[in-house]
């Protein structure tokens, strides 16, 4: 098979993985080496779906022994199969990198023969790339569920980031749709990786610490293939952040690719808006001091699709508002709908020089479309009317026929929830 055809097949098979981030690693180049890693990450292009292309995101092979019901590459599907050789992948990565098409490689794979066999192939490819081709750019590698931890360990020494995909948020969903994967095969390597990462971060006095996945660990969950609630998903994400110190949890709106009685019909549109709301809530967990239980609970298990989760929370806690812009602590400014962490920090710094008026906020480019209903400036309220949930809901909610509701999410809506991470 020609290289071009392999590339097309194995890129198309890799496209459902949401992550393409190249951030979190700041390794500098070494003599005779090619490349470095840039701490904030760099996007090199944006594909027609508006997602950032940072890494050459590709499968080693799509020939899978598993039959996970949601997956395009499942064994029972009649699709073209292809595999790279380690040399082909190294050559592609180097040639793309030298032309500045990419920031590095994101190598994943279907399970060929066995988890260990597959993981060994990935490790061999990375070794070749790092040692023979002297590639020093960013590498993200998948941990294959069920692979021996010694192989996972080797991968961690070579890669900047490792991820093991959880895929589905509960044991039941996993049993239903991915019967050959069990939670132990997923959480085992995840736990191992998190331990090694924490070890590598400990200060080392007399020797250079071994670098183990310096950009940390991430994972991905599919949204909308099973009836699991947003509360289930976000509570799990919260545990992953605290227990395994994950850098990112990615969420992927399920794109129906297979017919199965346990799956949404093939004509179902991917739940992009739901995915977007979950990303917004995820941001609130990581950067805004919210907990999952503040946003959702058993009685109220799903995010309001028409409202961003911070607005939703604020409307249920109107007794805490309005907030005085010139006095409120940073933690409270962060809870004002429409005020992001950059703006909150900007407000805190600017008000030290002098009190801020509503006009000043506008001049500072604070977006007041939503925030105006929840703040006062030197005691004056600019929300024209009562602070009342019934009045505010229609003013804050997305109109049912807007582009955003149709899944045409724009960069403005994506602010803070982009795919770059």
């Amino acid at each position: 098979m020609r290289l071009l055809e392999k590339l097309q097949i194995l890129a198309a098979s890799a496209k459902y993985d949401a992550s393409c981030s190249s951030s979190g690693s700041g390794r500098s180049n070494r003599p005779g080496g090619v490349g470095n890693a840039f701490l904030p990450g760099i996007c090199h292009s944006w594909s027609d779906d508006g997602r950032c292309i940072s890494l050459l995101k590709i499968l080693f092979t799509n020939a899978c022994i598993y039959d996970c019901k949601y997956c395009i590459n499942r064994r029972s599907n009649d699709i073209k199969r292809a595999s790279f050789t380690p040399e082909e992948l190294c050559e592609l990565t180097m040639q793309f990198y030298r032309r500045n098409y990419i920031e590095g490689l994101f190598l994943s794979s279907a399970v060929m023969k066995s988890p260990d066999y597959t993981m060994e192939l990935l490790v061999r490819t990375l070794k070749k790339l790092r040692n023979e081709y002297r590639f020093n750019g960013y590498i993200h590698v998948k941990g294959i569920p069920g692979a021996d931890v010694r192989l996972v360990h080797e991968a961690g020494l070579l890669a900047d980031r490792i991820s093991v995909n959880i895929e589905l948020p509960t044991r039941n969903s996993l049993m239903l749709l991915a019967p050959q994967k069990d939670p132990v095969s997923i959480f085992g390597p995840m736990h191992y990786v998190s331990e090694r990462i924490m070890e590598a971060r400990e200060p080392v006095l007399y020797r250079a610490g071994q670098n183990f996945a310096p950009a940390g660990q991430s994972t991905q969950m599919i949204v909308g293939a099973t009836p699991d609630s947003d509360y289930t998903i976000l509570s799990l994400a919260e545990r992953l952040y605290s227990r395994y110190r994950l850098k990112r949890v990615y969420y992927s709106a399920y794109v129906p690719v297979n017919v199965d009685e346990n799956l949404p019909a093939i004509s179902t549109a991917p739940p992009l808006m739901r995915e977007h709301r979950i990303y917004q809530a995820d941001w609130l967990l990581r950067f805004y001091g919210f907990s999952a239980a503040e946003l959702l609970d058993e009685a109220h298990p799903n995010l309001d699709i028409r409202l961003d989760p911070k607005c939703d929370w604020a409307l249920r806690h109107l007794d805490l508002f309005p907030v005085e812009i010139n006095r409120a602590p940073l933690e409270m400014l962060l809870r004002v709908p429409g005020i992001g962490y950059k703006m909150a920090a900007r407000i805190v710094r600017a008000r030290r020089i002098g009190p801020l008026s509503f006009e000043d906020l506008k001049r500072m480019r604070v977006v007041l479309k939503r925030a105006r209903y929840f703040i006062t400036c030197s005691g004056k309220y600019y929300g024209d009317g009562e602070l009342d949930a019934g009045r505010l809901y229609p003013l804050l909610a997305e109109k049912a026929d807007s582009g955003v509701m149709a899944g045409q999410i724009s960069m403005f809506d994506m602010a803070g929830t982009s795919w770059r991470g």
């Binding site: 198309a12 496209k15 180049n29 594909s47 997602r51 292309i53 793309f96 032309r99 899944g407």
Partner: protein, 244 residues
């Protein structure tokens, strides 16, 4: 009084020095080449003086901050017609407020510098990713582009470190600026002839990249508006993945 400079950053800093020394408030500080202007009243031609600009440079560093100096320089690279005046006013406020001036965003001149600096930094960051090199027949990797701002000098350090073992050229076609890297150091020049023909394997790798670009998109998530907001159409001209 309108100050006319040679258009360099040092020229603007010299103007700042002169304005302070003459205790006058310039109405504008802008580049000009027409010497006849200086015979007109209300016009002062500023001769760039390394010593004077150096003093202002150091003054900003010590009395305001290194970050402020970098902001001023990046703002200068925007080529905005009013940037000379903004720089002067920013420094004037900065000498009173010290490094707090960076946060004084409610002030229009401070905000102007902040916004211009950010715009330039954003475009430079974008081109760390969007710049595309083609390997030429002579083995040199050549990239050309037409950025909105004069950002070439903000990119060279990154590529000299990253692609340190390959000779490359970054060519700003809009401004006739070439950054040349020979494997050891970067030099800037202008007025070079166009590049030689691409290497024979170039077409093959561009084709692979284009097909990869197509294959990685999810059809049911198609969102050209979002794509364009991250990667504006004016940048497509030099992206192989955006050529048919």
């Amino acid at each position: 009084m309108i100050y006319i400079t040679d258009g360099s950053f040092e020229g603007i800093l010299t103007s700042v020095f002169e304005a302070f020394r003459n205790r006058e408030e310039p109405e504008d500080i802008k580049p000009g080449v027409d010497v006849q202007l200086s015979f007109l009243s209300g016009i002062r031609e500023i001769v760039t003086d390394p010593e004077k600009s150096e003093r202002v440079w150091r003054g900003v560093q010590t009395k305001i901050s290194q970050r402020a100096l970098e902001d001023l320089y990046r703002a200068y690279l925007s080529g905005h017609p009013k940037v000379g005046l903004y720089i002067y006013r920013y420094i004037k406020i900065g000498l009173k407020l010290g490094d707090r001036v960076e946060n004084y965003l409610q002030h229009p001149d401070v905000r102007a510098i902040h916004d211009l600096s950010q715009k330039v930094a954003n475009e430079a960051h974008r081109f760390l990713g969007l710049l595309r090199f083609r390997k030429l027949k002579n083995g040199i990797y050549y990239a050309c582009y037409e950025p909105d701002n004069n950002i070439t000098m903000l990119l060279t350090d990154h590529f000299a470190k990253r692609l340190s073992d390959q000779p490359w050229i970054i060519h700003d076609r809009k401004r006739d600026i070439f950054a040349l890297y020979n494997g050891e150091e970067v030099v800037f020049t202008s007025g070079l002839p166009g590049p030689v023909r691409p290497a024979s394997e170039e077409e093959f790798y561009e084709e692979l990249w284009k097909r990869y670009f197509e294959s990685i998109a999810i059809e049911s998530r198609r969102n050209p508006r979002l794509q364009k907001s991250y990667m504006p159409r004016r940048y497509w001209k030099y992206l192989p993945e955006k050529q048919l």
